[in-house]
Symmetry: C2
Subunit: 122 residues, 2 copies
């Protein structure tokens, strides 16, 4: 798998809302950051952040508008959609940066308008 | 020039605070968006946004942490620093997406924590 394929698999694991499948595609020293909101270091912190988020959604669909890779670095532009159990839909425009090593993601930083996310979640 | 070279030149033109040099690297139907803050369409709107911003800074330094290109699409991860005349420094962590055509940038979308920028500018 190319670095881009690993990231594609990670996106799909997120869409499946399967936190263990997500973690399987990360190294154990993963640093996953939502820029402006904080960094999750390691499996426990990623599980603590994403688990409840996926539990709260009945469907997750991340549309990849473009993805570019070079060596171990992958970047993509996405619209991340979360369909919540109460019928509400959250859509976030995101640019993601990924560092891949040995077929797993070791660094992941998502950039987005944090204020917009907060107002959608309010 | 590769698409990546065009983006590199655009970053340098921004650092030079020379709005005409910036516009020269854009098509006349440029769509430049600070995601969450609005889109500038065409030279006049880009000039109206960036001109005063560069006029207010004595130095602009955009550190490119990584840049990846594939075909006409370029993405980069940056720290954009603005040193204002009053001695204040603004630093913004950014992920940028660029579409290049005929040696010029036609699409440019910067993703960042807008709330953080606003609090630094307050």
């Amino acid at each position: 798998m190319s670095a881009g394929d690993v990231v594609k698999a990670l996106i799909e694991a997120n869409e499946s809302r399967d936190i263990e499948a997500v973690l399987e595609l990360m190294t154990d020293d993963i640093a996953y950051e939502n820029v402006g909101m904080g960094v999750c270091n390691g499996y426990d912190e990623v599980r603590a952040l994403l688990g409840p988020f996926y539990g709260g959604a009945s469907r997750v669909a991340w549309e990849v508008l473009a993805q570019v890779e070079q060596g171990d670095t992958v970047m993509n532009e996405r619209i991340d959609r979360f369909f919540l159990h109460d019928g509400k839909e959250i859509a976030i425009r995101v640019a993601g940066v990924f560092e891949v090593t040995g077929g797993k993601v070791r660094g992941w930083r998502d950039y987005f308008d944090t204020g917009n996310l907060m107002s959608q979640m309010a």
